[in-house]
């Protein structure tokens, strides 16, 4: 039963220049309270830093918060770098200010889930805990 009690490891990060960290910190607190092991990167990370940290820390998923409008550039770059490093099995999800029109394209590119303003916290927790079941 050791597997069932191993906490899921997730990297939560802020990528790009965006400093809006109110939402992401609440997500970190909620996930921790739910028993998820979190590596929080802090602000102003490059896609390269995010992917390097994710591989070093051997996380199962990466969750990125972007409120700056740079999502169409940053998510695809993280996906590309994961592929280059042979780490496509790491789930990428995210949240922030992402307009309707951009969601299908980002999901098609490989972003597993995008949480948008006013998402109930338990939806995010359920999603992350569900990742363990899928594995």
């Amino acid at each position: 039963m050791a597997i069932a009690t191993t906490p899921i490891r997730v990297l939560i990060g802020k990528v790009g220049l965006d400093g809006h960290d109110r939402g992401v910190k609440l997500v970190v607190r909620a996930l921790r309270d739910a028993g998820v092991e979190i590596i929080y990167t802090g602000l102003h990370q490059t896609p390269e830093q995010i992917v390097t940290t994710a591989i070093q820390e051997d996380v199962q998923a990466i969750g990125l918060s972007i409120h700056s409008g740079a999502h169409n550039s940053l998510f695809p770059r993280v996906l590309q770098l994961l592929k280059e490093q042979g780490a496509e099995d790491v789930t990428l999800f995210g949240g922030g200010i992402i307009p309707d029109d951009d969601v299908p394209r980002l999901k098609a590119a490989g972003v597993q889930m995008l949480f948008r303003p006013a998402t109930p916290m338990h939806d995010i927790v359920d999603f992350v805990k569900g990742l363990r079941v899928e594995r």
């Binding site: 790009g16 400093g19 409008g69």
Partner: protein, 531 residues
């Protein structure tokens, strides 16, 4: 009859009783605590006539895409009756980076306008009379550089600096606390702010060299009391630094300005503006004994709360913004930005920003709320709230004093943690439906109504990068490099940076080059992560 809830509380968690009476104002006096408008302690407003003489400045924060895109928006807003300009810069500019910096990829022109050089600044204000409109610039880390560009534009056009009016936000403490866009460690950052304060006192007398901001503290999740406390304490920290540098308090304090959020709790917000004026006047009087009464007056800009807007049923945002704007007016603000209904989704479209401006115009022209100064003064409830906000802020002042001041408190993560805890409480209250939000927790509609939104295409970044490349080819490289060396020497010798910055921007050094040169002298900042 039973009441609907066992406890009624303000948005910030203050208990609210059923009705207020003189019993709630024991020890409060009309002479000491209320006073007259335009007189100490300025609870009722900083001017005797307030809006009977002059309405607030209607100043919509605007900026997107290239300098030319934003210049067109500025001219449109002025044509619609806006009375002042307010520049929103994009994230690379806010972080002191050029549009072609690797960290800027995907961010250019998205959150505001991209300004990397003096040439960009000239295009931003093309055809706009800088001696006739006042301009506010939301810029902090690299504020002195952008200010130098603005001054250089005026100089080129032959406009004397003493005819320029406006504001640079230039408040780095709230960046460390809440907004999170910084360049250097606190000590040199505060020294540069003091340079801008001293430079304005000597050369640009109608300019506000700083807008000490609670807006972002509130947006990060603080309560009204925390917004009030941290903002005013930040203000006192700057005054202290300026006085310690040798400036006379009356030489600069009349040029200080403040910036507050206006959130959903109508009366609490009105009380916050009143408490802010009274607390600032009292603290300045007690700590610095200024001779000029203007040194005691808290002047402020206000913006409706972006974090109160919802992506669901976005037209409801117009109503929220109207109530918040009215609270700012009843609170006695000097200028106001009203958010557009589409701002949870993107920067506002022209149609949305026009409606937001019209909201202010309707309040000013039609509601007749501008006729009487401080119309809620003397209300048992509002006076009681004003007292409680002032007391709450004073409690924080004591704790901050004990920690050795704001810089030390930030290094310990104190204000950051207080705000995060408050934000978590608020989030839980919403999720438990203790704070209903129309269209989100209640009255939810299945069908989504979407608004047209403003899109920034990739060509904005490509064109800005090309312009920078042309600029670098066109300039005299020796003159440019010499100006940066001069700047570094000035910084290393702790001389006032402003003259050297003006020379550097005129020598066509870019924003990113200037900030990189200064980082070599000052170092960079690493945030203590608070979770």
């Amino acid at each position: 009859m039973n009441e609907r809830k066992s406890r009624f509380s303000s948005l910030s968690g203050l208990d609210i009783e059923r009705v207020y009476s003189p019993d709630h104002l024991k020890g409060w006096s009309v002479e000491q605590d209320l006073g007259q408008p335009g007189s100490f302690p300025y609870t009722r407003g900083i001017y005797p006539n307030m809006y009977r003489s002059r309405l607030w400045t209607m100043r919509q924060f605007a900026g997107f895409g290239s300098a030319d895109d934003t210049n067109r928006r500025f001219k449109y807003l002025l044509a619609q009756g806006q009375t002042g300009l307010s520049v929103a810069f994009d994230l690379p500019t806010l972080m002191g980076l050029d549009a072609d910096d690797p960290m800027a990829r995907g961010e250019v022109g998205h959150c505001g306008v991209a300004i990397s050089s003096l040439a960009d600044m000239e295009r931003l204000f093309d055809g706009i009379p800088l001696d006739q409109v006042t301009t506010s610039m939301t810029i902090n880390g690299p504020a002195a550089v952008l200010f130098a560009m603005y001054l250089a534009v005026a100089e080129k056009r032959g406009i004397p600096f003493d005819r320029l009016g406006g504001t640079i936000q230039n408040d780095i403490l709230k960046e460390y606390i809440a907004q999170k866009e910084w360049l250097f460690p606190p000590e040199p950052h505060i020294a540069i702010i003091v340079d801008t304060i001293a430079y304005c006192a000597a050369h640009v007398p109608k300019w506000h060299p700083i807008s000490i901001s609670g807006y972002h503290i509130r947006e990060a999740g603080s309560t009204a009391v925390q917004e009030l406390a941290f903002t005013l304490y930040d203000g006192l920290t700057y005054v202290d630094a300026a006085v310690k540098s040798g400036l006379d308090v009356d030489a600069f304090a009349p040029q200080l300005s403040f910036f507050f959020n206006v959130h959903n709790d109508f009366f609490e917000e009105i009380a916050k503006f009143r408490a802010a004026r009274r607390l600032w006047a009292r603290e300045m009087e007690q700590r610095y004994h200024p001779k000029n009464p203007r040194s005691l007056q808290l002047r402020c800009h206000a913006q409706t709360a972006g974090c109160s807007l919802t992506a669901q049923q976005p037209m409801n945002n117009v109503v929220r913004t109207t109530l918040q704007a009215l609270a700012a007016v009843l609170g006695g603000t000097q200028s106001l930005h009203t958010n557009s209904m589409d701002e949870t989704l993107a920067l506002p479209t022209e149609e949305a920003v026009t409606l937001a401006l019209r909201t202010q115009q309707v309040i000013a022209s039609e509601s007749e709320t501008v006729n009487c100064v401080d119309p809620l003064g003397g209300s048992y409830f509002v006076e009681s709230l004003t007292n409680r906000l002032e007391e709450g802020a004073r409690d924080y002042f004591k704790r901050l004093d004990q920690m050795g001041g704001m810089v030390a408190a930030i290094e310990h993560g104190f204000p950051q943690r207080e705000i995060l805890d408050a934000s978590q409480r608020y989030q839980k209250e919403i999720e438990h439906k203790e704070r209903p939000i129309v269209g989100v927790t209640d009255y939810v509609e299945q069908e989504t109504r979407s608004l047209p939104i403003l899109k920034i295409g990739p060509e904005v970044e490509q064109e800005q990068v090309a312009r920078l490349s042309d600029l670098r080819k066109s300039r005299d490289p020796f003159k440019m490099a010499g100006s940066l060396e001069e700047l570094q020497e000035t910084a290393a010798c702790h001389q006032n940076l402003m003259p050297a910055l003006i020379e550097a921007v005129k020598a066509k050094a870019t924003l990113g080059e200037i900030c990189a040169a200064l980082k070599e002298v000052y170092g960079t900042y690493r945030e203590p992560v608070v979770l």
